[in-house]
């Protein structure tokens, strides 16, 4: 059965090997040069806070070079690989046998359906996981200079936090879970729908929906988020925005959390001294911000005691502070393990269903 599976899987395996090789060549050809740019930017010799400026410059300039395109392209390939595998390896696995009638041939050899499916799922699933994780590891190696710049504090250009959807889903061990799940999903859809193309469409729809739902609603709550309240004046770089007639309402978002590098910021907003959310500008601050904004918008220098910084100071004087919910950086690996475990558990449940379906509900 193992030999038959390899015989039938040969085309897919060769295609995957060719894709991996092309990916490897692309990254190996460009990686060293990007690393030399990193060294030339002065980042390799910097220490502590002196790294921020070269790191920001490095990632911002990468975004305007072919490396920015390459970074997004390679990330996109890793994101799409599980879906492609689910569509082209998973969905036809059972559906095509039923469609072409060859199920009647292969399921009447001296091998039970359970063994047939077990071998097919094991070889297909493990190959899917290996291919996707190999893509991820290659890109992680290639992107080491970018990750280093992010660790040094850069948030510009191609720099993205480890918790960002693009990075979280393409690095670490999550690609293993996605690949196993997408493959099992394709097989299950094929077993249920019994026709290859509709099964492919359903696989794509469900997988895409889950990949959107996961970072939006599930991942932020894998552990209860931490909450902190900080003075508005320590937000650093975050600009307030006044709205409403006469600027009597305002919003104020945090862009990062002081003292928590690499944390995943989930939400932020101003609160009053009692800890309740506020959006009404204290009367004393209305004119401070207003005048400042109109002056700033015309490109003039802010008058003394006016402008965004003065407005934030004024908010602080009137007891307004910023509340932030976030997942600390230390939860990166626990989240990676948890999310991978969820996808692997779903994959196993789908595989179990396929065994039941193939054995009990023959039709």
């Amino acid at each position: 059965m193992i030999r038959l599976t390899w015989l039938q899987f040969r085309t897919q395996a060769v295609t995957a090997a060719a894709a991996l090789a092309a990916f490897a060549v692309l990254l190996a050809a460009t990686g060293p040069h990007m690393a030399s740019l990193y060294a030339a930017s002065g980042l390799s010799g910097c220490h502590g806070s002196s790294c921020l400026s070269p790191a920001t410059y490095f990632t911002a300039s990468l975004a305007r070079s072919p490396y920015g395109v390459l970074f997004l392209l390679s990330t996109g390939i890793i994101l799409l690989a599980p879906a492609v595998i689910g569509l082209f390896w998973g969905a036809p696995l059972i559906a095509r046998e039923l469609e072409t009638g060859t199920a009647a041939l292969v399921w009447n050899q001296s091998v039970t359906r359970t063994r047939w499916l077990a071998v097919k799922l094991a070889i297909g699933g493990l190959t899917a996981m290996a291919v996707t994780e190999a893509l991820s590891l290659m890109q992680t190696w290639w992107a080491v200079p970018i990750s280093q710049a992010v660790a040094d504090g850069s948030g510009a250009g191609v720099a993205q936090s480890r918790f960002s959807q693009l990075n979280f889903a393409t690095h670490g061990i999550t690609p293993l879970g996605y690949a196993a799940f997408a493959f099992a999903l394709g097989v299950t859809a094929g077993a249920l729908i019994r026709r290859t193309f509709p099964a492919m469409a359903v696989t794509l729809a469900i997988f895409a929906a889950l990949q959107v739902a996961m970072p939006l609603w599930v991942r932020p709550n894998l552990a209860p988020p931490d909450r902190t309240v900080i003075p508005v004046t320590s937000l650093g770089g975050a600009g307030p925005s006044q709205t409403g007639p006469g600027g009597d309402t305002f919003t104020l978002y945090a862009l990062n959390i002081p003292g928590q590098p690499g944390a995943w910021l989930l939400s932020s907003g101003p609160v009053n001294a009692a800890g309740q959310p506020v959006s009404t500008t204290p009367a004393a601050c209305t004119s401070v911000g207003n005048t400042g904004q109109s002056a700033g918008a015309q490109g003039n220098a802010f008058p003394p005691g006016q402008g965004p910084a003065a407005f934030v100071d004024c908010l602080g004087r009137h007891g307004i502070r910023e509340t932030i919910t976030y997942q600390p950086a230390s939860r990166y690996w626990p989240f990676q393990w948890t999310e991978t475990a969820i996808y692997l558990a779903l994959a196993l449940a789908l595989a179990g269903y396929c065994f039941r379906r193939l054995n009990r509900r023959r039709s």
Binding site: L7, L105, V106, Q109, S110, V111, S363
Partner: protein, 297 residues
């Protein structure tokens, strides 16, 4: 000898329509059994249930004394050639034989190679480029070379031209003669069955209309023609299967164990085709066998 297939109250429903309903039969082993019936009689469903391709909605079925496809050993005992004789389009003929060798512990590679050469299949040719006849021969080779005790064939020659049909049946008969395999062959083409079967089952709407060895069936049926007459006046032991009347003449197909002595009748033997058609016709009400000694009603 264990029955090849035994079914009791067997039924298979797709949503609300019954493909086979309340089917009870026993197909003996050691024969080449022709399973014949009109389209929709449930022949294909019965064979697919017997190979474990389907699970029954109701009732039970056993094949060679075991539930179908229950274990690798049971699967090894039963060979199956499905309708349309599917093969893998992208796999070469030789790959199909490797598949058979890998998946069947009892694989007879010498037999497989010999048959492939005999029927003129190129081992390098892909399944998708084979003609209908070649595909059927490949599927039959796979089923034969696993050396089953029972071979189930579902309309294997339906899509073949007369020459390919003869080649296929000749190959089948040669293999059966060589290994003593039991065969159940479904078809609605009586002429094919006539050539190969020694046992006949007529299945109409899931019911067995008649079953028996071909020689006995032919010996126990006669066509009578003579002056117009009410079939009710026939002596006991002569069951009317089919009757046709004109003003002057009656033609009857009767089942009887006794010679016909009535000089009014012209008695002719029936062909297998006539017999099958008479039993397949739903308009004919088949009487239960009446006691040989009794009062005619």
């Amino acid at each position: 000898m264990t029955a090849a297939i035994e079914a009791s109250g067997l039924g298979k429903a797709y949503r609300r329509t019954w493909a086979l309903r309340d089917c009870t039969l026993a197909i003996p082993g050691g024969h080449v059994v022709g399973l014949v019936g009109p389209n929709g009689a449930g022949k294909t469903t019965l064979l697919r249930l017997a190979t474990g391709q389907l699970t029954p909605t109701r009732g039970t079925i056993s094949v060679l004394g075991e539930p179908p496809a229950v274990s690798p050993a049971q699967l090894a005992r039963v060979g199956y050639v499905a309708q349309d004789t599917p093969v893998y389009a992208r796999m070469r003929v030789a790959d199909h034989l490797r598949l058979g060798a890998w998946l069947n512990p009892g694989w007879d590679d010498e037999l497989a190679q010999r048959r492939i050469a005999q029927v003129g299949l190129d081992p390098k040719q892909r399944g998708g480029s084979l003609s209908g006849g070649q595909r059927a021969q490949l599927a039959l080779t796979l089923a034969l070379a696993k050396r089953p005790e029972l071979l189930l064939l579902d309309e294997p020659v339906a899509g073949l031209d007369p020459l390919a049909r003869r080649e296929f049946l000749r190959g089948l008969m040669a293999a059966v003669a060589e290994h003593g395999t039991s065969v159940v062959l479904s078809s609605h083409l009586v002429t094919d069955l006539e050539r190969v079967c020694d046992y006949l089952i007529v299945l109409v709407a899931s019911r067995v209309r008649i079953a028996g060895e071909v020689s006995e069936l032919l010996a126990s049926h006669r066509r009578l023609s003579g002056p117009s007459r009410d079939p009710g006046t026939l002596p006991a032991g002569q069951d009317v299967i089919e009757e046709r009347h004109t003003d002057k003449q009656s033609t009857l197909l009767v089942r009887t164990g006794e010679p016909i002595h009535d000089p009014a009748w012209t008695v002719t033997p029936v062909s297998m085709e006539e017999l099958v058609l008479a039993y397949m016709n739903p308009a004919n009400d088949i009487p239960a066998r009446r006691p040989q000694l009794g009062v005619a009603s």
